[in-house]
Symmetry: C2
Subunit: 146 residues, 2 copies
């Protein structure tokens, strides 16, 4: 990353992130991390806002807990999104084709990596890989129904 430049721009409600790390693979991964992380952070904020509205009170403790959850979920979703985006891009480049098999393979590898990173058993890593592949394929299909 030496000599790479980092530029970040976020504008709501268009939600647009651009990161230039001087390498297309890293760019996709960073894009995936930031966008999916941002979605997760928004989700936590929406959930906790609903809880506060229901309870009718906001305490310092609640805000701290919300902030912790924002960081945790944002980082987790972001890591998964970034890994998948980078993988899918690499596979697309290697295969030189843009179809659902990239999503399947990308999801499979991401699922395996995420399960392995959380120190799961071999069986669970395989299950994670299969589920990852299935979810990524389903997500691709549903977004390309037209």
């Amino acid at each position: 990353m030496a000599g790479g430049k980092l530029s970040l721009s976020a504008s709501s409600p268009r939600v647009d992130f651009h990161v230039d790390m001087g390498n297309p693979f890293l760019n996709r991964a960073a894009d995936g991390f930031l966008t999916i992380g941002a979605v997760a952070v928004t989700k936590v904020v929406a959930e906790d806002t609903y809880h506060c509205l229901r309870k009718g009170s906001v305490s310092e403790h609640t805000l701290k807990e919300t902030f912790k959850k924002m960081c945790k979920e944002g980082a987790y979703w972001g890591a998964v999104g970034g890994t998948y985006a980078g993988m899918e891009y690499s596979i697309r480049r290697i295969r030189d084709r843009n179809d659902w098999k990239n999503a399947l393979l990308g999801g499979f590898i991401t699922g395996a990596l995420v399960s392995a990173a959380s120190k799961k058993s071999r069986d669970e890593v395989v299950k994670g890989a299969i589920t990852g592949g299935a979810v990524a394929t389903a997500a691709r299909f549903i977004n390309h129904l037209g």
Copy 2:
């Protein structure tokens, strides 16, 4: 659906489903149901094949269990996919725009419907709606990173 025609074609490995029910909303919902259901069925087959290979044996009981799981997961994923596809299409038509907000709204409604259908409490329905919206938005973003 009176007078509608139903034509179904599936070719592997291209995986292509076309259902004509004479109404664009129903077409999307059926397309979503079939594609996402097929993905879930494939996932169950892959998972159970791995288990059989690990165990080194296939019994009638295992096959029955696999078949049951195929039907259950296929129907569940299919229902979620179909509802989402129909919703997203309707919202796109109403808003006359094709952006991530369709995914957010479609996922939100689908999440709420799925939670409500499984007889969850009001709080859980809201949580399901928020999670649905977040997942759908994330899936759309990741498939449109380019």
